[in-house]
């Protein structure tokens, strides 16, 4: 498979890196020499210096033999033109573009039906707002994802020191926790990813990934001592594009929203375009303004400035001053492992969201969604079991499943089946597979077609 990526920014870089590790041929185009140097020094990809919207550059990148083009530059216009040109030269190539401007929201369908024929428009901001909303409602979540159109939730939580279930074997948990049995698919312990068996125990400090039905989720989490607190008051630091979108979204969900913005002109804009939110003109890391606005009574503080250091500090400051909890926007992946140590649990990243939405389009087989975990060591894939696939109509214990991958759940119409060795996957079922990165190519293989067909 061959993928052309236009734009070697954070998203382009990480998608390229991710794909190159899976032995996919990747060509990256960017205008900036230094960005190109960074990617060619660190990743096994071919690079081209030039404009991704230029037909000559795209031809040079071999667009005709390319399966997927991914336009992820910072400019919506460049991304659109790149897809348009790619469509002219090579109509069969699948086109994915990142478009962030909210004005385009209503027209996404049109772009795929008409001229540029963009197969998928990725708007990470919509994803981020969804994630922030989930973080507000799922107690303790550090990572969330959805399967089966939201009926099934995938959640990562850090376990507290005084965990009731500490030291209990996984196979004994249903007996101890009465209401719901959490289906634990992975544990990250001391930065090491473990796929647990019945004999493994939970320990305080673990990061646990679990899958649960939406309506049972809160019960499941309270078994892990994560209790739900309703969110009524939210403070957003900085009313940029994301802050504005978030405020508008929260208004619709009738949450009391305050939004702090430094720039007076922007404040005027926010005040004109938002109805019930309180727009404050000031600095989000200013103690006096936070105290003035009763930070103690705020349930959630969301920091979404463009500067991640400011986000981190503002989040820490507001929780120190008594806010319920904070959610920070962090783009730089290298900061993720530090977040828990400095006391920021909930982190959103538009770039990680973009990568997740891109990944599932690149996966082969009938993959509905693919979520990569924060540390990027593993992925959760939701796919439809094809009739020709090697995993159907056999008990799970008889399937030679790739090492490092497990079936975490089977969805058959309305039912959600927790798999055991004797479970059988029927054609048409949706399967949720948790897999380490190394096993991904093999998982893709078994999902698509039986091996002996080749």
């Amino acid at each position: 498979m061959r993928v052309v990526i236009v734009g070697a920014g954070e998203v382009g870089f990480h998608v390229a890196h991710h794909l190159a590790l899976e032995n996919i041929d990747v060509v990256v185009i960017d205008k900036d020499r230094d960005t190109i140097r960074r990617i060619s020094d660190n990743t096994d990809v071919q690079t081209l210096i030039g404009s991704g919207s230029s037909p000559i550059v795209l031809e040079e990148a071999g667009i005709q033999n390319t399966d997927i083009i991914l336009a992820v530059t910072d400019s919506d216009e460049t991304n659109l033109v790149a897809c348009l040109v790619a469509n002219m030269i090579s109509p069969t190539t699948k086109k994915l573009a990142r478009i962030r401007d909210a004005d385009y929201d209503k027209y996404h369908q049109m772009f795929s039906a008409q001229a540029p024929h963009i197969d998928t428009i990725i708007n990470p901001e919509i994803e981020v707002i969804k994630t922030i909303h989930q973080f507000m409602n799922i107690p303790g979540a550090v990572d969330v994802g959805e399967f089966a159109d939201g009926r099934l939730k995938f959640v990562g939580v850090n376990l507290d020191k005084d965990l009731r279930l500490a030291g209990v074997k996984l196979s004994d948990i249903p007996a101890v926790a009465e209401k719901a049995r959490p289906l634990i698919v992975a544990i990250v312990r001391e930065e090491e990813l473990i796929i647990p068996h019945g004999n493994d125990c939970l320990l305080p400090g673990d990061l646990v990934y679990l899958i649960s039905e939406d309506h049972k989720l809160l019960d499941t989490l309270s078994a892990l001592d994560k209790h739900h607190q309703p969110v009524n008051r939210v403070l957003i630091v900085v009313g940029g594009r994301l802050g504005f979108r978030l405020a508008a979204f929260l208004e619709e969900n009738s949450v009391q929203t305050k939004i702090i913005e430094k720039d007076p002109d922007r404040c005027t804009f926010l005040a004109e375009n938002l109805n019930r939110s309180v727009v404050l003109c000031g600095d989000g890391s200013d103690r006096s303004i936070l105290a003035e606005e009763n930070i103690r009574d705020i349930d959630v503080v969301v920091t979404v400035t463009d500067n991640e250091e400011t986000n981190i500090l503002a989040s820490l400051l507001s929780t120190r001053m008594g806010a319920g909890k904070s959610i920070a926007k962090i783009s730089r992946f290298s900061y993720f492992p530090l977040m828990q140590a400095i006391g920021i649990e909930q982190v959103v990243s538009p770039r990680l969201s973009a990568i997740n939405s891109i990944l599932h389009h690149i996966r082969r087989g009938k993959v509905l969604s693919a979520i990569s975990l924060k540390g990027q060591q593993a992925e959760v894939i939701e796919a439809i079991a094809l009739e020709t696939s090697a995993i159907v109509q056999k008990p799970l214990k008889d399937i030679s499943f790739p090492k490092g991958a497990v079936v975490a759940g089977i969805i058959r119409q309305e039912d959600i089946i927790v798999p055991s060795g004797n479970s059988v996957i029927e054609p048409g079922d949706r399967v949720i597979i948790f897999t380490r990165r190394q096993a991904i190519p093999k998982v893709e293989k078994i999902l698509s077609v039986k091996l002996e067909y080749f």
């Binding site: 590790l21 032995n23 020499r33 060619s40 990743t43 096994d44 071919q46």
Partner: protein, 482 residues
């Protein structure tokens, strides 16, 4: 710098290299000569050494190789390969001194083709095959081959590739380094096959055709005959060799484009035009110069002139004539050829046409900006701008090349070698050519160079093959600091 991991990779490379010794063993078995036992011993030692290194550090894993580690792996890897490759010579009955064995081996790997053997034809067939075969391995690069074949080098392959093939403007033919490396080796093997066939059509035995191909394609220059190519004294062979030496002196990515059905790619490449233009010009000058004074017919003058110019500028080092008897101008042109060298991305050595060309352009830019102080002028190649840091690294390369050349020739003269010889021996070693002037001329060899001088020339050959930086970095104290 993660030394255990670095040593593990070097162990894998050594192990892999040891396995290639099976080919000369097969040749030795076929001819039933005395080279089989020394080769078997060497293979055993090399494989064992590589395995021990690997086994000892097997638990050290890493996802990537840093630039520094890449350079260390390549520099040390080549040193190891040079030393282990010397074992078959050292163990053979032809009583090689240790330094001579290493000299012959490194001269082979670096595709220099300088020899200390006085009577080549007396050496056993298996060993001679090994001598040619290591040139072929070294030509496209043993590490490029490993990257192509061994999957475990994975992502890190790129740093290794860059350290072994340090082209000023690196080009990746395929998105993945492993594919790039294997494409290059396939092209290399394909052209080699063509040469074997053409040589056999001219009546050469399969053994000699193979050995000579193995030394033409990497622009090496070892021959299985005492008199080198002059042994055959055939216009046909001269023509075939000239053609393939030129081929080997061209950037292999152009060959790849050519094989993909884009014949114009060759002509569009400005370095190729520069290389070809230089060759044609110098051939004409030399032929006219030796016509009358040495050869009576223009045809003869052209035949020998062309062969010698192409042989030296491609840094092969075959000989069909004793050019030391030629007029001074021809000799100086040949000396100039030693410095110019072949194209970047070819198997040839020297400074490389691309660098020479960019240097000219840079000088012109300096003059231009003296005339138009406000002019904005950028150095371009093939319509693309050459960035300042690339230009700087080229100027740095030239400064180091000339500096090391001067330094080494002064040392060699200090050991007691005469003026011409010390000058030419260093030029021929650092440029990976082989024959020089004076005591190391086309009809002499390096046996008479003193002991210390041989070690220094070994170092020069490695410097030249890995294009200075990768080797010289090892003597920079900063490299070893934590």
């Amino acid at each position: 710098m993660r030394w255990p991991f670095t040593l593990k990779i070097i162990g894998i490379l050594t192990l892999f290299f040891g396995l290639t010794m099976v080919f000369p063993i097969l040749v030795g078995l076929y001819y039933q000569d005395q080279s089989v036992i020394p080769l078997l011993e060497s293979m055993g030692i090399t494989v064992l050494a590589g395995f021990i290194l690997y086994f000892f550090f097997r638990n050290h894993k890493a996802e990537t190789i840093s630039q520094r580690e890449g350079m260390a792996i390549v520099a040390l890897g080549w040193t190891f390969v040079g030393l282990f490759g010397a074992l078959p010579f050292y163990f053979s009955d032809d009583d090689f001194m240790f330094v001579d064995a290493v000299f012959e081996s490194v001269s082979g790997f670096t595709t220099t083709g300088a020899s200390i053997l006085i009577n080549i034809e007396a050496v056993s067939r298996g060993l001679l095959f090994w001598r040619s075969f290591i040139q072929w391995l070294g030509g496209m690069g043993i590490i490029v081959l490993s990257v192509a074949i061994l999957p475990l080098l994975g992502v890190g392959g790129m740093q290794l590739y860059k350290a072994e093939v340090p082209s000023p403007v690196p080009d990746k033919l395929r998105p993945r380094i492993r594919d790039t490396a294997s494409v290059l080796w396939k092209v290399y093997a394909l052209i080699s096959l063509a040469e074997v066939v053409l040589l056999m059509l001219g009546g050469m035995t399969f053994y000699d055709a193979l050995c000579h191909t193995f030394t033409t394609m990497p622009t090496g220059g070892f021959s299985t005959k005492n008199a080198s190519i002059a042994h055959y004294d055939s216009v046909y062979f001269d023509a075939v060799f000239i053609f393939f030496m030129l081929m080997a002196g061209i950037n292999f990515s152009l060959h790849y484009e050519l094989l993909r059905g884009k014949p114009l790619a060759l002509w569009r490449d400005s370095e190729f035009r520069f290389f070809l233009g230089t060759v044609v010009l110098l051939v004409v000058l030399v032929s006219l110069n030796i016509f009358g004074s040495i050869y009576d017919s223009l045809g003869q003058a052209f035949r020998y002139g062309a062969f010698q110019v192409v042989s030296i500028i491609s840094t092969t080092g075959y000989a069909t004539a004793d050019y030391e008897k030629w007029p001074a101008m021809s000799q100086l042109i040949l000396l100039l050829c030693m410095f110019i060298g072949a194209s970047a991305g070819s198997t040839g050595g020297g400074v490389k046409c691309l660098r020479v060309m960019l240097c000219f352009k840079f000088c012109y830019k300096q003059l231009f900006s003296l005339i138009h102080p406000h002019a904005v002028f950028s150095v371009k190649i093939g319509g693309k701008v050459v960035s300042d840091d690339v230009m700087q690294s080229i100027l740095g390369f030239l400064a180091l090349y000339i500096g090391l050349f001067t330094f080494s020739s002064v040392i060699l003269a200090g050991i007691g070698v005469d003026f011409t010889t010390s000058f030419a021996a260093v030029a021929a070693s650092i440029g990976n050519i082989g024959p020089g002037f004076g005591l190391v001329g086309p009809v002499d060899n390096y046996a008479q160079i003193p002991y210390l001088g041989k070690w220094m020339l070994i170092w020069c050959m490695l410097l030249g093959r890995l294009e200075i930086f990768t080797i010289i970095i090892l003597v920079v104290p900063e490299f070893w600091r934590k």
